[in-house]
Amino acid sequence: MNLNIAINTGSATPIYKQLTDQVRLAVATGRLAVGDQLPSVRAMAEELVINPNTVARAYTDLAREGLIESRAGRGVFVMRKRKMFTREEGRRRLEPLMDGLIGEAMVMDFTQEELRAVFEKKLSQCQRNFGKGGNSNNE
């Protein structure tokens, strides 16, 4: 498992959110596959030199999202992503994120073509994992 999590203090993002974001990204980019074991709360805390309660909170949030699952006595594992939202719900959540992204790009004076190019590039990077990883939103 090549999970490389780095957290920054002094960032506007709380540490637990940095953790959840990075785990999510790792799952999205395929660095973490379904069934991979995450370090225990204690181990993660001592490696990152942060409070175990912060790690516990991050893990709880991820578990609530359905991304990971804690199996008694065995550890914490990446889960097959269960369907959390309906399509409409999902779109409703997606569109503000896209608004924000496009708005930022416009403020930064990107043209539509440039933005599309970046978007395509990023998409292709994650392409392989959209099919794998069990994100079967077709269910």
């Binding site: 203090t9 002094g10 506007a12 709380p14 540490i15 001592e46 030199v49 942060i50 409070n51």
Partner: protein, 309 residues
């Protein structure tokens, strides 16, 4: 003595001369976890800690630590509390090993493995004399002496002052190591916000001898928000906003930092008719500085007369 609070203060007050250093401090520190006491220099942190350890008599008010009244701490209380002072002072003529031997004879729960482990972690030679150690090495020795008896409650007064980054990291690692046991509590005062971000569960903020915040760390972060308003021209004067910490006006922009940002606050801000209101995320350090800094409005707009060369 297995209460849920290891420290409980009630109206704890201390005057030096006519000035209060700590005024009507009432807080409770729950068992387990890490509690950080924050505040500017001279806000009363060291005074509070001294009072809690029975080294300074309160002017009025009281407190209890591990259930014992602070005005009469018995020896068995002191056996269960570890105290790391700010100056890391020890007897200069002792060697590192002698310090360990000296302390070990007093504390029945002394764990020499921990002592040697921390000493080794800081690369201290057992035969080195204390007076030849650097500030950081002395801090490491003091930490070893404080951790070795495995105290139930660990009180650290600004432990990271004067430490180099490696030593500071070792300190934070030791604190995290201590949290392995859920009945151990750490209470420390500090200026190092990155460390607070890493290890603290709860914080309390002292501002000029008065307690202004006592909550989980995340609650504090969530309470302090920064909002950016954009205006076509120079923004108007700000109305009275409850919970306002800072407002900085500059060309076409007004940045407001406030506590408990809610609908009423938003409505008041919208009343200024800005082009855009947007919340900007803020780091713990910036939140803290706004919280304890000068309050009110600041203006950085250059007036036309000044702009003339």
């Amino acid at each position: 003595m297995n209460e849920q609070s290891v420290i409980r203060t009630q109206g704890l007050t201390r005057y030096f001369g006519a000035q209060p250093a700590v005024y009507e401090l009432s807080l409770e520190v729950p068992r387990g976890g890490v509690f950080a006491l924050l505040g500017r220099n001279g806000s009363g942190k060291t005074t509070t800690i001294r009072m809690l350890l029975g080294l300074l008599e309160p002017t009025r008010g009281g407190a209890s630590i591990l259930g014992y009244d602070i005005r009469s701490l018995p020896p068995e209380a002191r056996a269960r509390i570890g105290y790391l002072t700010e100056e890391h002072q020890l007897y200069g003529w002792m060697s590192v090993r002698e310090c360990g031997e000296f302390q070990s004879r007093f504390f029945p729960t002394w764990n020499d493995k921990i002592f040697r482990g921390v000493i080794g972690h800081f690369n201290l030679r057992p035969t080195a004399l204390v007076k030849s150690l650097s500030r950081g090495e002395r801090a490491g020795l003091c930490l070893a002496l404080t951790l070795a008896p495995e105290p139930e409650l660990l009180i650290l007064d600004d432990p990271a002052v004067g430490l180099d980054p490696v030593a500071r990291r070792a300190l934070v690692e030791s604190m995290i190591y201590l949290t392995r046991r859920s009945d151990r509590t750490i209470f420390f005062s500090t200026h190092q916000l990155p460390d607070v971000e890493r290890v603290a569960d709860h914080i309390a903020v002292l501002d000029r001898s008065v307690l202004r915040a006592c909550c989980p760390l995340e609650t504090f972060r969530n309470s302090v928000r920064q909002v950016r308003l954009r205006f076509p021209g120079t923004p108007r004067a700000l109305p009275k906003i409850p919970g306002l910490l800072q407002a900085v006006r500059s060309e076409g922009e007004l940045r407001v930092t406030c506590v408990h940002y809610n609908g009423a606050t938003e409505a008041a801000l919208r009343g200024l008719a800005p082009v855009q209101i947007e919340e900007t995320p803020i780091s713990l350090e910036d939140a803290f500085i706004s919280y304890l800094g000068d309050r009110g409005e600041k203006s950085f707009i250059l007036s036309e007369t000044e702009a003339q060369p």
